[in-house]
């Protein structure tokens, strides 16, 4: 597969016009295309609702994904049930595709738990807040899967900023040296908080892969079909023992870095308008409107699903139980630990001492 440099690989252009690409195997039927659209619409809605909940103070913070739906859904829908995903704090679309219930997703952002789901159940690691801290885990997980003789693969999600971290570069070295069945998906959303991608790299990010010894592919990250096709092939390659691939999904963070960020401090409204015209959701909708057998009915049903999701999210958020103080000491260790036991007991007594005083 070509395409580390120059124009990203694409099947759907910004106007939603479909064109075959010689390097991409695109055999998606109507049901699959509908599925991808529905996923993207749902996570867009999830994002809008959660940003609103953060602005209302119901969530402590939110990390918006709007603009990156195609990259997340296209890649995560290419995973098989046995594969393991290692996401960043922005990959709610990945969490959605892995089946994590919305309430579990909110736990982190409401500050009731560091992570709200069992990673074994959904094959989704906790969100990595330390940028790049999880890349080596994906490699090691993949090495483990290979050592056990399975065809499972791992996928590591990275931002463009994360590509500068030393540990991420070590992950590339290891993955290449061990031919680990891992795919690195870098969502190049153009910004690392206030820093444009040019601060991180003098070359297109995908080009770096060649130096490490594996293929790098630039794909239009706002084209869900191309993302789906590219990541599916990269995973197949990994599974069959040919080692890692770096996929650079060229996309855009349409919203703020987090609910407390103000992008007007560092980027222009004109730039935002340019990328608004490349909205991944609008693009697939246009395509679908032209090609689907009954687009109106389908889109109406998606709208209904989105409304239901929004209601579910608001309800889930407000009814998430606050954690009990004792949870501070839960699971710090797998085995009993004397200091943990001592402190926990002391603190319970200490809290009780307040209740006794009238």
């Amino acid at each position: 597969m070509s395409g580390a440099e120059g124009q990203p690989l694409r099947l759907l252009d910004a106007e939603g016009v479909y064109r075959d690409h010689p390097d991409l195997r695109a055999d998606f039927d109507e049901a699959q295309i509908r599925g991808l659209y529905r996923d993207m619409a749902m996570v867009r809605r999830l994002d809008t609702e959660c940003l609103a909940l953060a602005r209302q103070g119901e969530l402590a913070v939110w990390t918006p994904l709007s603009g990156q739906e195609a990259a997340q859904v296209g890649s995560a829908r290419s995973l098989l049930p046995g594969d393991m995903a290692f996401p960043t704090y922005r990959d709610h679309g990945v969490a959605w595709c892995r089946g994590v219930p919305p309430a579990a997703l909110l736990a982190h952002f409401r500050g009731v738990a560091h992570s709200g789901w069992d990673p074994r159940e959904y094959r989704l690691h906790p969100y990595s807040v330390v940028v790049g801290g999880h890349a080596l885990h994906a490699v090691g997980y993949a090495m483990g899967a290979a050592a056990q003789g399975t065809a499972d693969a791992a996928i590591a999600y990275l931002g463009d900023g994360a590509m500068s971290q030393g540990e991420v570069n070590e992950a590339f070295v290891w993955a290449a040296a061990r031919r680990a069945p891992v795919v690195f998906v870098c969502q190049n959303n153009q910004w690392a908080i206030s820093e444009p991608v040019e601060r991180q790299s003098a070359v297109p990010l995908a080009e770096r892969a060649r130096g490490f010894g594996f293929p790098g592919v630039r794909v239009d990250g706002n084209d869900v079909l191309a993302c789906r096709a590219v990541v599916r092939d990269a995973l197949a390659r990994a599974r069959s023992g040919h080692g890692p691939t770096l996929v650079e999904a060229v996309t855009y963070r349409m919203g703020p870095h987090t609910s407390s960020d103000d992008p007007r401090r560092y980027r222009t409204a004109e730039e935002e308008r340019v990328w608004l015209r490349r909205d991944p959701l609008a693009r697939l909708r246009t395509h679908l409107s032209r090609t689907d057998t009954d687009p109106e009915k389908f889109l109406a049903s998606v709208d209904e699903d989105c409304d239901a999701l929004a209601r579910e999210l608001r309800h889930a958020c407000r009814t998430l139980p606050d954690p009990r103080p004792g949870e501070i000491w839960e699971h710090v260790y797998a085995q009993t630990h004397p200091l943990v036991a001592e402190e926990r007991g002391w603190y319970a007594d200490y809290l009780d001492s307040f209740e006794e005083t009238p």
Binding site: G111, H114, I193, E195, P323, P325, I328, H337
Partner: protein
């Protein structure tokens, strides 16, 4: 966009602004000084500490770096070897660890390794502590990792006045300084005197409230907690010392106080076990064994990772826990 007027003596400003003012003065005074870190340029830092500095001094002296803490500190070491005085910003406490190797094995050792030939006038600024309802890795107190490393000076400011003078003293210091800023207090306002002449030296502790019955030792965010506790305690007269410098520790000031009061409580947000308070308690015991009524009491975080924000008020030492510890000094 931002004002660049120098505050006159006694101007009131936030702690964040006081740091900004101090850094601006340091940049203006010495062309060898530069500021570097993630989002410190165009954005002016996530806590606005470097607001306006890139516009004033240019993007080479107030530098938005690639996203890599090992790189920030590692290249700063190289720049220092070449004669610059870099001030590095680590965006949050929990993100200093990719730079841990550079700080502990390289930066801290180079003066010794070169028998004093290498000068490393580097400052590493780290917003630390919790209490702002932030996500995982944004509320930690990693100071003990650094106080444990010989070769590093470690300080923590707690007021706008100290923030301003201490950052300037840190930049002027010929040794590497790890500079902790209490993020809970960034927006607290207080008077700032830009005349450094009257300021205490960076490595001195300061008695911030006088008292006679017990001594509360604190730094960074817990200074406020201890002052509140002392204020709330109607029965006992509590002395509060802001340690300011963790390494070196101003043992003389601390010991003089405890020798008078006979009771001592040390308070920090970091976990108590193996925490900085353990060193303080040991030193106080060595110096004031005869004066102490009880062992030195320690109040701090628990043996657990910093909890999700809805639990942080349980984890963080508060006024009641401080007073509970004071009770146990009799």
């Amino acid at each position: 966009m931002t004002t660049t007027t120098e505050p006159s003596t006694g101007t009131t400003m936030s702690l964040s602004r006081a740091l900004n003012t101090g850094l601006r003065a340091a940049l203006a005074d010495d062309p060898a000084v530069l500021v570097m870190g993630e989002d410190v340029g165009t954005l002016g830092g996530v806590f606005r500490v470097t607001d306006g500095l890139a516009a004033e001094f240019g993007s080479d002296r107030v530098m938005d770096t690639p996203l890599g803490e090992a790189g920030i500190v590692g290249t700063a070491v190289g720049m220092a070897l070449r004669g610059l005085r870099p001030v590095c910003e680590i965006q949050f406490d929990g993100f200093v660890f990719p730079a841990f190797n550079q700080i502990t094995t390289q930066l801290a050792h180079l003066s010794s390794r070169t028998r004093g030939a290498a000068h490393l006038p580097l400052v590493i600024r780290i917003p630390f502590g919790g209490g702002i309802g932030a996500a995982e890795h944004h509320g930690e107190s990693p100071e003990a990792y650094f106080t444990h490393t010989p070769g590093l000076r470690v300080v923590a400011c707690s007021t706008p006045a100290d923030a301003h003078t201490m950052i300037r003293q840190a930049v002027a210091c010929p040794d590497p300084v790890v500079f902790f800023e209490p993020k809970q207090l960034y927006w607290e306002r207080g008077p700032v005197d830009t005349d450094l002449g009257s300021a205490p030296a960076m490595d001195r502790a300061v008695v911030v409230r006088e008292g006679s019955d017990a001594t509360l030792l604190a730094y960074g965010p817990t200074v406020r907690t201890c002052l509140d506790a002392a204020e709330a305690d109607e029965e006992r007269s509590l002395e509060v010392i802001d340690l300011r410098s963790l390494n070196p520790l101003d043992t003389a000031t601390v010991a003089a106080s405890v020798a008078r009061t006979g009771g001592c409580v040390v308070v920090h947000e970091a976990p108590v076990f193996g925490g900085y308070g353990a060193e303080v308690a040991a030193r106080v015991t060595e110096h004031c064994f005869d004066a102490l009524r009880t062992p030195v009491r320690r109040v701090g975080g628990f043996c657990a990772p910093y909890p999700p924000s809805r639990l942080e008020h349980h984890y963080l030492p508060d006024l009641d826990r401080v007073l509970d510890a004071v009770d146990r000094t009799w």
